[in-house]
């Protein structure tokens, strides 16, 4: 019987205690075995420890983070605690969840070649493997391109090429499907099957591919690992839905209740051209957004979603056209400063605005700037903490989990009372349940929401209305029930 490439038993891990708090437990006695030449997937909502487990298996945690690790594990024939990661280049390959954390050169070809240089592979062999690996992932024309200019999906493909070049015995892929479209997900699975490579995937969302190409499915939740499917058996979809990893079958299941929404913002003849000849231009003839309504703005990468979002909140000043806000019964043209005060924009990365030492101070900042009394601030902050399930007020936000930082970001804007909130791809890295919970909390204050996403299924499930944008123009604006998926629909990703 061929030895298992990955076997863990009774694994328990907790991060070191910080600032007088108790150690943060992440894994509690988990056991798992991946059969030879098979693919497994460990699913889990955000912050359940998937990335931590992936890095433990690669020998990176607790080496770089500290913490207490107990239990036994054999990964590609060795215990990762007994070898330095640089000695496991050909046995364990890892793709990080955040591609920007793993790219460190200024050319795609040197990025792919780096591990081979470390192994002392001769130049001719390196050149051949770099060319082959980039061709495998469709990046042959990108050899001298700076990885910083690649899209999220292209960066993930580049990292897959880096692994393909050294061809490790075991592949560990953390949320690699999130930014790949169906074509590349399938291509990756085919590559692994062709090479007979065992692989362990981690993901916070379900995709039908997991039902067909994987032998072992598990869910990581509350520090424990539960089997969803073994040996290719049908997965327990109820469990996955309970964990918020897949959307319930009924479309619109996460959608807030319909209401009588009042028009809030109008766009007329908006035009914005980026500097430079032949560069992208945004042209929106008309658009109306309403308070309490959840609209999804979907489109391919580069279609103009973020550009439109930034124009609506006054960060970009259009060269032509007007954006008007309702004032009483009328609509009045709004200046960029007025848009700044009325329309919030939640960036995909919640860390752009975090800078204070406690949750309380982050939440209170905007209220203090608006001159609200301290006792009123305290009450509103506590209410926001309850509504958004935030940690205690003295917790440093920068030390919170990613999901908690997202909720803090949402709570901050909720407290500011913006009439319209634009949420730019904030669903990434969150489970469906967490994201829907966030939306409900935001809508409860009566704000209108414009969700920028390229997850069409999510858009159908949660939005009242779906707006499709392509090449800077709105091509469709219809109720979500009428937004049926079809091949080639811009923005369809799952």
């Amino acid at each position: 019987m061929t030895a298992s490439p990955l076997s863990i038993h009774g694994l328990t891990f907790s991060y070191p205690a910080l600032q007088g708090r108790s150690p943060h437990a992440v894994l509690d006695g988990i056991s798992f075995r991946l059969p030879a030449a098979c693919r497994g997937v460990i699913l889990g909502a955000a912050d359940q420890g998937k990335t931590t487990l992936a890095r433990i298996l690669a020998g990176l945690v607790p080496r770089f983070t500290g913490g207490m690790l107990q239990g036994s594990m054999t990964v590609a024939g060795r215990d990762p605690r007994e070898t330095r990661p640089f000695d496991s280049v050909q046995t364990i390959g890892v793709v990080f969840q955040d591609a920007d954390e793993q790219i460190f050169t200024t050319r795609c070809d040197t990025e792919v070649a780096f591990a081979m240089e470390s192994l002392g592979i001769p130049l001719a062999a390196m050149q051949q493997r770099v060319a082959e690996s980039l061709a495998l992932v469709g990046l042959s024309d990108f050899t001298s391109r700076n990885p910083a200019t690649l899209s999220g999906g292209e960066k993930k493909r580049l990292l897959i090429a880096c692994l393909a070049a050294v061809d490790p015995d075991l592949w560990i892929l953390d949320e690699v499907f999130q930014e790949l479209d169906h074509t590349w997900r399938t291509a990756l699975l085919e590559l692994l099957v062709t090479k007979s490579k065992p692989a362990l995937f981690f993901d916070s969302r379900w995709t039908p591919l997991y039902a067909t190409g994987f032998s072992d499915l598990s869910v990581l939740s509350a520090c424990r690992l539960a089997a969803v499917s073994r040996g290719g058996a049908a997965p327990d979809m109820e469990l996955l839905c309970r964990e918020g990893i897949c959307l319930p079958d009924s479309a619109g299941s996460g959608r807030p209740l319909d209401g009588a929404w009042e028009p809030l913002l109008r766009v007329d003849g908006l035009s914005y051209q980026f500097p430079g000849k032949g560069s992208f231009s945004l042209n929106v003839g008309s658009l109306e957004l309403r308070s309490g309504e959840v609209c999804a703005l979907v489109g391919r990468n580069g279609s103009g979603k973020s550009t439109l979002g930034k124009a609506l909140c006054g960060l970009l000043v259009p060269q032509a056209g007007t954006i008007s806000l309702r004032a009483g019964r009328e609509f009045r043209r709004a200046s960029p400063a007025e848009l700044n005060r009325s329309v919030g924009y939640m960036f995909q990365n919640p860390d752009y605005q975090i800078f204070l030492p406690t949750v309380f101070e982050e939440l209170a900042l905007g209220l203090r700037a608006a001159g609200i009394a301290q006792d009123v601030i305290r009450g509103r902050v506590e209410e926001a903490q309850r509504l958004f399930h935030l940690p205690p007020g003295d917790m440093p936000p920068a030390l919170m989990s990613y999901g908690a930082r997202k909720r803090l970001q949402a709570a901050t804007y909720n407290l500011l009372g913006r009439r319209l909130l634009i949420l730019d791809e904030i669903d990434s890295g969150l489970s469906y349940r967490e994201f829907m919970s966030l939306i409900s909390a935001l809508v409860s204050s009566g704000s209108g929401l414009l969700l920028i996403t390229h997850d069409a299924a999510l858009a159908r499930a949660i939005a009242h209305r779906v707006i499709v944008i392509d090449e800077g123009r709105i091509v469709r604006d219809s109720p979500a029930e009428l937004f049926a998926s079809s091949p080639g629909m811009p923005g369809e990703s799952r």
């Binding site: 330095r84 280049v89 364990i92 954390e101 790219i103 070809d109 592979i121 700037a369 608006a370």
Partner: protein
């Protein structure tokens, strides 16, 4: 806030010159502006460098460089004679010696030196890609880890520029109500967010380096390198010849 980049792509002689030769010649040219010699050498080399920049990069580029140094040259011209009053008087006002022969000579020397050095460095770094500069420095003996530090820095500069820009926007939107704060009141929170973002990346980046083999004791090979063999010999021979030409006037003047 545009991401700056000194490199200007092109096909001129300067672009095609081996990067190692460019760096050696830069040191040689810079040294010439400090060697004792006839007074005409520094201005002559400055004019030559100006022509080189104009012909290889365009006279518009030359104009931009000269326009940038004019304020500095003006300061040199006005203030240097105040500190150099030896020699014969050339300009006087109410018995005050405003300009003397020594002062004028010093002005010419400093103006030539400052302009010449500016043009020499400009000519090299405007035609030298930063990646090639790092590879060249490795050839000269820069340790691998130092080269990797530079590579990482060049990789993260555009990323952190983007983070700064986005953080500015996020803070602007969040603090759009209330009284307007001053420059440092607005900038310090943004810088704090940017610094936290940068520092958080460090452990993950270290992990990424190690899982790709950084730290192994076995010798590394190199994917990118500069031409060797006959091309290198030709480049070094050309460099040697040019250095000899540069230094010849000083030797002949002895």
């Amino acid at each position: 806030m545009a991401v700056p980049s000194a490199f200007l792509p092109g096909r001129s002689i300067l672009h095609r010159l081996d990067p190692r030769a460019k760096l050696i010649l830069l040191v040689a040219v810079a040294a010439c502006f400090f060697l004792p010699g006839p007074r005409w050498i520094a201005p002559a080399y400055t004019v030559f460098l100006a022509l080189l920049v104009g012909l290889c990069l365009g006279f518009r580029e030359l104009g931009m460089v000269l326009a940038a140094v004019v304020p500095v040259l003006a300061v040199i011209c006005v203030l240097t004679p105040v500190f150099r009053r030896g020699g014969d008087t050339l300009v006087a006002l109410f018995d005050v010696r405003l300009l003397t022969t020594d002062g004028l000579a010093e002005v010419l020397r400093l103006v030539s030196r400052f302009t010449g050095l500016t043009l020499a460095f400009y000519a090299v770094f405007r035609t030298l890609d930063m990646n090639e500069m790092v590879i060249s420095l490795r050839w000269f003996g820069l340790p691998y880890r130092a080269a990797l530090v530079l590579t990482i820095a060049f990789r993260f500069i555009p990323t952190l520029f983007g983070v700064y820009q986005s953080s500015r926007e996020a803070h602007l939107l969040r603090m759009s109500q209330g009284r307007r704060r001053g420059f440092f009141g607005r900038t310090m929170p943004v810088l704090t967010s940017v610094v936290i973002h940068a520092v958080r990346q460090i452990p993950s980046l270290a992990m990424a380096l190690e899982i790709r083999g950084f730290g192994r004791l076995s010798p590394r090979t190199s994917f990118r390198s500069l031409p060797s063999g006959r091309r290198l010999v030709a480049a070094l021979a050309l460099t040697g010849g040019l250095c000899a030409l540069l230094i010849a006037p000083f030797v002949l003047a002895l």
